[in-house]
Amino acid sequence: MMPTATAKPSTQTAPWTKKDLLGLRELSAGEIRLLLQTAESFREISLRPIKKVPTLRGKTVVNLFFEPSTRTRTSFELAAKRLSADIVNIATQSSSLSKGETILDTVKNLEALKVDVLVIRHAAAGVPHLIARHATSSVINAGDGSHEHPTQALLDLFTIQERKGRLEGLNVSIIGDIAHSRVARSDIWGLTKLGARVTVCGPPTLMPPQIEQLGAPGAGGAGVRVTHNVDAAIRDADVLMLLRIQHERQESMLVPSLREYRLRYGIDRDRLKGAKPGLLIMHPGPVNRGVELDSAVADGPFSVILDQVTNGLAVRMAVLYLVSGAPKGDEDEG
């Protein structure tokens, strides 16, 4: 191994020129740093007595959610409102999509109403990308299938950086249902691009093949380390990210039972005895208390789960601000 005497600046940001935010895979380390730095500046606004700035006055943001969501949708809604944008919420249950309209027709109709930003969540991977190719308005991916959830990963990066002062060289272990997690994929891209080392841990049935090749090449060469042993994932970790185990996984027999999952992979206080001091416990929510995470840990001193929620608002304000300022119209696809 080479000695770690690298003098390259890790605070370099790159200007934002993208119309859309589709995933962290498409972003450079400099663009991710700019997003994090901008979010830092926006955080103070939510601490004011008047939590509002006029920046996006006159812009219209549409939350177009084809999948149920409370926290992400609310976070985007408040972010838009604190920037003085107007926001419309469309849930598929109440829209013409249930009458058979295609997604692109829905988008074309919204664009005919002169909206500026579309925030899209869909159960299928790639839908925001498809829409972005056909829309002149900005598209923000709020989660597409098991593919990416960039704003969640950005708020994770932000929270780690806030607590640890850096991302470079940290060991981050992601534990749980890696196969079905868009959060894990976006986190792997973001963390590896900013120089953190990522370990993924979970039952073999919930571990996608070739996951170790995902992400930017790290200091050690490989992208991601894979383990099925949760104690090994905890041992060197500076950060533990727990993922939600969905009850459907038990029904589809990927996990024998939630009780067995808890015994093998659940995080409780005993399991953290050998952990590094200052370990951070993170979870994208909603938490299955007593399955992937015990209440004593979720509410314990290492937990930054609610910081993640607070920071998510600042991150989404930053994303709305930056995509709104990007040049619009006939751009080439990158």
Partner: protein, 188 residues
């Protein structure tokens, strides 16, 4: 990009230092001391200037004055006209502005649009008793009904010219210069 070249140096380090001391005296004279007084500098050079003014006031009066930093990017009226959006920095005002006598500090007063944005930003933070404006240079060409209460130097300029304020903290120089377009400098 048009290249600019230096036309004249209008202030050197010593003139800058004396001007800051004079404005500090004027503020103290007008406010009759430092009671309920606070300075708010507009990023980036206004913030440096506010720090210097606070230091000068403390030297003269023996009492520290709170200083805040205001970033007006989010209040600009030209956001939809510049792309990409400018980088946002944090506003750091570590005191409650309600009922204070604020002095807003900036380096150059030009169109007045920055000050308009700053006034809106301040009113979102609370309700100061009064707001006054201190600037190092007033170069004219106002586009809004705004004037400064404390002026370091009035410098009549042409619209095409630039005023460059350089502070050691950022620029490794301590001066104010007028610059003009280099391309047809003689044809003006």
């Amino acid at each position: 990009m048009i290249a600019f070249r230096e036309k004249a140096k209008v202030m050197d380090a010593e003139a800058l230092r004396r001007t800051v001391v004079r404005i500090a005296h004027e503020i103290l004279e007008h406010r009759k001391g430092t009671g309920q007084l606070a300075l708010v500098g507009i990023r980036t050079r206004g913030a440096i200037l506010a720090q210097r003014l606070a230091k000068a006031i403390e030297t003269i009066d023996g009492r520290a004055v709170p200083v805040g930093i205001l970033d007006i990017t989010l209040y600009r009226d030209d956001l939809s006209r510049v792309a990409p959006n400018p980088v946002v920095h944090a506003t750091e005002i570590p005191f409650d502005v309600d009922d204070l006598h604020l002095v807003l500090v900036d380096d150059v007063l030009f169109t007045g649009r920055t000050i308009r944005a700053a006034l809106n930003a301040l009113s979102d933070l609370g309700r100061p008793k009064t707001i006054q404006l201190a600037v190092l240079v007033d170069r004219g060409h106002r586009e809004l009904p705004i004037r400064a209460d404390y002026v370091g130097k009035n410098i009549p300029t042409h619209l095409r010219e630039h005023i460059e304020v350089r502070f050691n903290e950022l620029d490794e120089a301590e001066e104010v210069v007028i610059e003009e377009p280099a391309a047809n400098g003689g044809a003006a």
